[in-house]
């Protein structure tokens, strides 16, 4: 074993599992990564990204100084590389950014500004960002990629039980008797969690039910695999509930004590037989019956899901159909049960918690509530906070297209990869007057920027990330930053002071923080659920699960033991809506999109990592029978077209894809799959239908 200058304990910057890492540092570089074996949530386990993928931190293309576009304000906005920018001092760049923002406020009103905060940044970065946007700019136009990710899980769970976080801790997976994994390719998207799930099956004899159109790796560990047609999730869960009620397997005492609206819901299930569901979903009725019995009769059963449930035009209904089933069987409120949306990003839970959403202050406190508003105005020493919920990610894009928004402030997001129907999104982007970017690399969105402010990744700053099971954990500065790159919240704090001055506002004194720990302390003073959490405490204990109202409180690994935040759990009557884009003779395949093990979202990080060597380009996963019928060979170059665009990729023949369905990863800027996706939104969650586009495939030269 090698000796190193120092080892720094921190939290992984990739998915929402929140693995603890020990970074070995030599000469200011991360030379290897291991995992502490005695620390939750990963207990020594890592995946390829955490173990090998943090080398992006040292990539030579890191932005080292502030940049300003050379041809600023000269007609049509076009994407440029580094050659399109000139280096600037922090003073010049921040003054220019402050000038643009204050001018927008003065001439067009604060709501002409759209802002994107980041699920990759810390809670402290988010807190300062939203404090600036709400308290100085005075708009609630703030959102982040949770909108494109678990928005429908949030909307559904808020409605059913009043809380949207994962209800149980990762450590509880050993208590499972039966569990459902649905719309989650867990071995690739949450690899470390998948090892605990596999362990539950192999070592503890737990029974796994996979409900997913694709033959994912976990289906090899499953007792049952319900391979339904994409987009027919509600039908599967409704039919399972029908079986539970018909065979009287429901948990009567739980329903009586803890839920409401059961009778209406029960009636709505009449006629929704497994046979009817079979005709919609393609899953044999007998399998649906077996799955329903297995879940209902279990002592402890949990559901884990990912984007397959939420990224849908009826994602809220998908979530509600699962919540209905859990309430029906009483599988909530004790270890080894629960409703568990697996959060995608390292801090997507925390970014939402810290107020990175258009309708809420930190701690999910409504911007429309006068008392809450007063509390924040007093603490922040400002007046006139906006009471109107702001626009969501895609609504901001719409507003940009209509000219209602003409200034964007983007911190650590990449909308030019992540938004659906990129062709349209790009047109909206091009119309903006000013784009200010805070990021570590010049990515596909930065290429459209006017002012680029160089920020720092996880290994170069202190702060907290909140993982998927609500565990607040520390990240610690381990290596120096290149050039003049600066911590995100410090950049925003400096910008806030300059905008405050330019707007002629009385100095609030609210942007004078000296450390991330001070930032956290202000937020925890405003959010009751964080009241007992401080950096010092996390340093001692390794991590604390919120809610944790006071320093003596141990934190809350599992929720809803006695009640739900909304009181009783609500059964919701659902229609089985099937509104996604359909295939046709011109577009005969259904395209599903998602992540692969070795890459991360828009690829800004992992495409600049050794990870890119093992998975360097986009593929189209196609069933062997489809490939044979079309005459495609492994690795053949093809064009994939939807009604919105065309991209080039290579055929990968695999039984993972069912017939008629192809899968493509979302990570490759050379084959940006969102050129193909459709901007069809769930009416409640405003999340687009990423998982279902009709495409045609043709050989390419």
């Amino acid at each position: 074993m090698m000796k190193h200058e120092k080892t720094v304990r921190t939290t992984c910057p990739f998915c929402g599992v929140g693995c603890q890492l020990d970074l070995s540092i030599d000469q200011g570089r991360i030379v290897s990564v291991s995992a502490p074996e005695n620390a939750a949530p990963n207990f020594g386990r890592l995946c390829a990204k955490g173990r090998f993928g943090t080398d992006y931190v040292h990539h030579p293309s890191r932005i080292r100084t502030p940049l300003i576009r050379k041809n600023l304000d000269s007609g049509k906005r076009t994407p440029v590389g580094m050659e399109g920018f000139r280096e600037a001092s922090w003073d010049e760049a921040l003054d220019l950014a402050a000038e643009r923002l204050s001018l927008a406020v003065k001439t067009q009103g604060a709501d002409s500004i759209g802002t994107f905060c980041s699920a990759k940044a810390t809670n402290e970065d988010t807190y300062i960002f939203q404090k600036f946007v709400r308290g100085i700019l005075k708009t609630n136009n703030i959102d982040h990629c949770a909108r494109l990710c678990h928005a429908a899980s949030v909307a559904g769970l808020q409605k059913a039980i009043g809380s949207s976080a994962m209800s149980n801790a990762i450590a509880e997976m050993k208590n499972l008797d039966v569990f459902i994994v649905t719309g989650s390719n867990t071995t690739e998207t949450h690899p470390v969690i998948s090892t605990f799930l596999k362990e539950a099956v192999v070592k503890n004899g737990a029974k796994l039910i996979v409900i997913d159109p694709r033959k994912i790796e976990l289906s090899g560990f499953a007792a049952l695999h319900l391979q339904h047609r994409p987009g027919t999730d509600v039908a599967v869960y409704q039919a399972m509930a029908n079986v539970v009620v018909t065979e009287e397997l429901e948990n009567r005492s739980f329903i009586d004590r803890r839920t409401e609206n059961f009778e209406m819901y029960r009636k709505s299930l009449e006629g929704f037989t497994p046979e009817l569901a079979e005709s919609i979903t393609g899953v044999k009725a007998v399998l649906i019956r077996e799955a329903a019995r297995m879940y209902a009769e279990a002592e402890r059963a949990a559901v884990y899901w990912g984007m397959g449930i939420s990224q849908s035009v009826h994602g809220t209904d998908n979530t509600l159909s699962i919540a209905n089933l859990a309430l029906l069987c009483g599988h909530l409120g004790k270890p080894g049960t629960g409703l568990n949306p697996l959060r995608g990003q390292n801090n997507v839970q925390g970014c939402s918690d810290s107020g990175g959403l258009p309708g809420i202050f930190p701690g999910y406190q409504s911007v429309a509530d006068a008392e809450i508003q007063k509390k924040f105005e007093e603490k922040w020493n400002v007046t006139g906070l906006s009471k109107t919920a702001g626009l969501t990610v895609l609504e901001m894009s719409d507003a940009a297209g209509k000219g209602d928004i003409d200034t964007y402030l983007i911190m650590g997001e990449n909308p030019m990869m992540s938004e659906p129907d990129l062709n349209t999104a790009r047109k909206h982007f091009e119309q903006l007057k000013t784009i200010i970017i805070v990021d570590i690399f010049l990515n596909e969105s930065g290429a459209y920027g006017d002012i680029i402010l160089p920020a720092v990744p996880f290994a170069e700053k202190d702060g907290t990330f909140t993982n998927s099971d609500r565990r607040v954990q520390l990240i610690r500065k381990a290596v120096p930053s290149p050039g003049e790159a600066q911590t995100d919240w410090r950049i925003i704090q400096d910008l806030a002071l300059r905008v405050e001055k330019k707007l002629g506002l009385p100095p609030s004194g609210g942007f004078a923080f000296q450390s991330a720990s001070e930032v956290w302390d202000e937020m925890s003073g405003l959010v009751p659920a964080f009241g007992g959490i401080s950096h010092q405490r996390i340093d001692r204990e390794g991590g604390v699960h919120w809610p944790c109202p006071d320093p003596a409180h141990p934190g809350t690994p599992y929720l809803f033991a006695d009640s739900f935040p909304r009181g009783r759990g609500l059964f919701t009557v659902l229609d089985c809506r099937l509104e996604s884009e359909r295939t046709s003779s011109a577009y005969p395949y259904l395209l599903s999109t998602g992540r692969v093990l070795y890459h991360w979202h828009g690829g800004t990080m992992t495409r600049r990592s050794v990870l890119d060597k093992i998975y360097p380009e986009s593929v189209v996963e196609m069933n062997p029978l489809d490939a044979e019928a079309e005459g495609y060979e492994e690795g053949q170059r093809v064009s994939v077209s939807s009604r919105r665009g065309t991209i080039i990729s290579r055929i990968k023949i695999t039984e993972r894809s069912p017939m008629g369905v192809v899968f493509m990863p979302i990570h490759f800027a050379e084959s940006p799959v969102n050129e193909l996706t459709k901007d069809l939104r769930d009416p409640e969650a405003k999340i687009p239908d990423f998982k279902q586009s009709a495409v045609r495939i043709a050989a390419a030269g």
Binding site: S34, E37, G44, C47, A48, R51, K198, V202, R608, V610
Partner: protein
């Protein structure tokens, strides 16, 4: 583990432990350290390296303490001359065929037992495999403790990419059909690196190996 308590004697000391624990665990609870190599807290003990052997009164052979359960009235010697000789010979054989330069724990045990690394003249076995972007497998340093195989299979990762191959002196860690790792079920979690006690498995960014270089942007 049962709640029933039993009493055993270790190195002349009477200790009371729950029935069902191993001799290694029992000794540890009394502050007596038995040296180990292949044993790892998180893994099923394979009982392979035999460095943890102890003398149990009445037993015909030395017992591997990591996999032997305690019995009422058992009398154990963890550091007798017989035990020390076996451990020393074990290490001398290991050092004859293995590069132990990155195995500080084994080197420490050799010093403690005054082991003679020249005792058995042999040449190192194994070779260095460099077949993927992430880590090397330097089998000149491998002592066949099997931790990596256990991690890769049913103890942690359930990927089943690494396996034991060959027999006797030709035993080695292998992949199915000796395929390169990228062509196996390996997911490059590196959890095998985490438990390797000898530096045989190592991230390429470590030390002076083939070090990963970034592609220029």
């Amino acid at each position: 583990m049962s709640t029933e308590k039993i009493t055993i004697t270790v190195d002349g000391k009477k200790i009371t432990v729950p029935s069902g624990v191993t001799i290694l665990q029992a000794a540890e609870s009394a502050g007596i350290t038995i040296p180990t190599i292949c044993f790892h807290e998180q893994l099923t003990p394979p009982g392979l390296c035999r460095q943890c052997v102890v003398e149990v009164e009445g037993a015909r052979r030395l017992q591997p303490s990591c996999i032997s359960s305690v019995r009422e009235g058992m009398v154990v010697k963890t550091d007798s001359e017989k035990v020390r000789r076996v451990r020393r010979t074990n290490l001398e054989m290991l050092s004859a065929v293995t590069d132990l330069s990155e195995s500080p724990e084994i080197v420490r045990q050799m010093k403690q037992l005054d082991a003679d690394e020249e005792r058995f003249a042999a040449s190192p076995r194994g070779s260095l495999k460099d077949d993927n972007p992430f880590y090397i497998r330097d089998y000149t340093k491998c002592i066949l403790c099997m931790r990596c195989v256990q991690v890769c299979s049913s103890d942690i990762q359930f990927s089943y990419a690494l396996a034991a191959g060959g027999r006797g002196f030709d035993s080695r860690i292998a992949t199915f059909y000796n395929k390169d790792l990228p062509d196996t079920t390996c997911v490059f979690c590196g959890n095998c690196i985490q438990v390797c006690p000898t530096g045989a498995l190592k991230a390429k960014t470590e030390g002076n190996s083939t070090g990963v270089q970034h592609d220029e942007a």
